[in-house]
Symmetry: C2
Subunit: 428 residues, 2 copies
Amino acid sequence: MPTYACRSREELRMEAQMMLARYEALQEEHLKLDMSRGKPSQAQLDMVSDLLTTLTEPEQCILDGADCRNYGDLAGLRCAREYWADMLGCKPEQTFVGGNASLNLMYDLISKAYTHGLKDSPTPWCKAGRIKFLCPSPGYDRHFRITESFGFELITVPMTPYGPDMDVVEELVRDPAVKGIWCVPKYSNPQGYTYSDITVDRFANLKPAAPDFAIMWDNAYCVHEFEGEFEPFPDIISLCAEAGRPNMVYEFASTSKITFPGSGISVLAASEENIQYLTSLISVQTISYDKVNQLRHVLYLKDRAHTLELMKKHAEILGPKFSMVLKMLRAELTNRGIAHWHLPKGGYFVCVAAMPGTARRTLELCSRAGVKLTEAGATYPYGVDPHDSMIRIAPSLPPIDELEKAMEVFCTSLKLAALEKFLGFTLL
Amino acid sequence: MPTYACRSREELRMEAQMMLARYEALQEEHLKLDMSRGKPSQAQLDMVSDLLTTLTEPEQCILDGADCRNYGDLAGLRCAREYWADMLGCKPEQTFVGGNASLNLMYDLISKAYTHGLKDSPTPWCKAGRIKFLCPSPGYDRHFRITESFGFELITVPMTPYGPDMDVVEELVRDPAVKGIWCVPKYSNPQGYTYSDITVDRFANLKPAAPDFAIMWDNAYCVHEFEGEFEPFPDIISLCAEAGRPNMVYEFASTSKITFPGSGISVLAASEENIQYLTSLISVQTISYDKVNQLRHVLYLKDRAHTLELMKKHAEILGPKFSMVLKMLRAELTNRGIAHWHLPKGGYFVCVAAMPGTARRTLELCSRAGVKLTEAGATYPYGVDPHDSMIRIAPSLPPIDELEKAMEVFCTSLKLAALEKFLGFTLL
C-alpha cells in the first residue's frame, strides 16, 4: 500500500470519502469513551481489593512497641521504609515514605526548594532570580505544570529512545540558572522509553553549575511491565554518590498503579543527608503521614518479589489492551507515512507521533465522535507541541471492546486529519 | 495554709526539706513518663478500631458510579464534604476534604500564600516585603513554627479567658504588613479557653488593612468535650460573609482525635470562592487525596450526631485523667500563691501558670525525675515565654496510675522551683 504522500489527488479523494463514511457511521454510535488518563481499570482495582481486609485487628497496629495508629515516625514506618528500599535497591535510611501521592512529594520538594532552598542551595529559589528547569519532551504534563506554576522557565530537551538527549542536557546544565530536570527513567511517560545504562551513567556524572541542581527521578513505572519479565533498573542514588554528587538526585515512586491510585503510599528516596534535611523541613508541615495505610500496604505487598507477582496479574489485564492498541495502529496506520509509534513493554501509555500539524485536528475529530484523549500539546512545556504531532493514548481504563471502538475512531480521525493536510481543505 | 510569700524563711526551709525528700524518693522510682504531647491513649485507639473493618468490600467503593479507589474528586468525596459541613455547620461546597492532617492543610495554605498568594492577594507574600503574623499566646507551637519557618515576624497577642485580646488585635490589623492570625476558637491549646460570642463577632467584623488577611481558625477541638454536654459553636464562615469579608477566614478540623491521630481525614472550610481558588492551586500539587479513607470515615462516623456519641466514649476515658490532674493540682498547689490554672471542659490540655521565672526550672526538675512535659516556652512565639511561667500538661496518653505519679513529680518539682526562687539559692 503506497504512503499517502505517494498517492495521486484522486486516490486521496477516494480514501477521504471512505474514511468520511466510516467516521460518520462511528458518529452515529454516540460513543462516550475515555482514553485521556492513565487510570487503572475497575478489574485491576477489584483484583487488589484484599488490601481492604489486610489490616483488621488493633493488635496488628503495634510494631516494636510503637502504635502506628498514633502520631509519630515522620519519615515512615520502619517496615515501609524497608519495603521501598527493597523495591528501589537503596537503603531504608535513604527513604521517606509519604502519603497517597508521589506527585505531592515532588510538588513539596520543588515548593521547599522555592521557599527554603534544598540541602546545597546558596539561597531559596524564590530569592535566586530567574530559575530554569529542563523538561525532556514529550513528557508528563503534571511534572511540567509544577515547575511552571512557580514561574520557572521551562526548557524543552529532546527525548530519544535512550532517554533525554544527554548532549543537550550536559550543555544546558552549564548555566547556573538551570536548577533541575524532570525524568521518568523507566517506561517514560508518554513514549514508554527506558533510559539506557549510558544515559543513566551520564546523569549520575552530570556536573551542573548549580550546586543545588535537582534530578527529579520519577520512577513511576519501576515494576510496571505489562509484557515480558521484570527489567531490573540501576540504583541512581548510589550512582550519584559514586560520582561524587550524592545530593543531586531525588527518586520518587508510589503504589498508585500497584494497589489503589488515590489511596496508596508514596516514597521519596535520596541521600541520607537529603532525607535528614527534608525530614526536618517537613516536620514543620505535618506530624506524620498515614502509617496505618503504610502498614496495610506492607502487609499486603510484602516485598519486591511478591509485588512483582502482583504486577504479573496487572499485566494479564493490561497486556491485552496494549496489544489491541498496537494491533489497531498496525492495521490502520502502517505504511501510510502519516504516523509512527514505539512498542513499549511497560508503563501506561502509547505515544503516536502523527504527521506534523495533524495532532490537534485528530483529537478534535475524536472528540466530535465521542472519544476523549489527552489534550494535544499536553506532553510539552506550556502545553504547546511545536510540531503539533504527539498524541498520548492511555488504554488502561476502558474495557477491551470499548477500546477497540475507541481506536477505530482514533485511527479514522488521524487519517482524516492527514488527508485534509494533503488535500488542502477541511473534509468536515 | 499560708501562701509561700507569707511564710518565714524558716518555714520555707522546712517545706523545702520535705519537698526535697519527696523528690528524691520519686527519683529512686526511675520513672519514664510522658505528658508532652496531646496523643490519644491506646484505650482510645482500640475503642475506635472498628474503623479498620468498616470498608471491606469492593462494591462499597462505588458511589454514584464513581470509584473512590481511583483518581479524581480533588476536593473530596461528596459524602465526606457533607459530613464535614454537618460537623462545622457550613455548606458542602465550602469544604475541601484533605489527607490525614489538618496541620498539613494549614501549612499548604500559608505556603501557597507565600508562593502564589491567596484569593485577594495583590501579590504573593514572598514578594510582599516584611510579613507579620499574630500569635495569641500561650498558643500552639506548631502553628507558630509554620509562620516562623517562612520568615514572618511573629507578634504575641495576649490571651484572655474569652479569647485573644480583641482590642489589641483590632489595633494591630491596621498595619497592612499584618497578614493573619492563628486561632483555636474552642478549648484553645493550651489553656482550654473557648472564645466568647463577642470575641467571635469581633473576629468576623475585623477590618484588617491587608486585603488578604487570613484568620487561621483551627477548630481542632470542635466536638472534643471530655466533661458535660456538647457545646455548640458559631459558623465563622457565615459570620464573616455577613460582615462583608467572606474570604477572610479559613477553618480547619480533622478526625485526628476522633479516630486515629495519624490516619484520619482533615478538612479546610472557607467561602466557596476560596475553595475554588485553592482547589485550582492544589490541582497542580496532587490528583486527589485518599478517598478510600474518606469513605471509611464517613461509613464509621456517619454524621455529627453519631460522632458526638463516640466523643462521649472518648470522654469516659479522658474525663477521669483530667479529673486526676485537677485533683492533684488542687491538693498540692492551691493557696500557695505559686501557680494557677483553668478548668477546661474539653480539648487535650491543662495549662499551669507557674510563678514567673519558675517554669523552665520546674520542667528541668521533672525531666531529672523521668517525667517529660512540653518544653518550657513552647507555647510562645520563637519558643520564648517572656515570663517563664506557662507549662502545658497533656494528660491523655499515660494510664491513670502513671498519670498520678507524673503529677506528683510535677507538683513537687514546681514547689521546689518556687522555693528556690523565694530562698534565693538552688536546692539540688
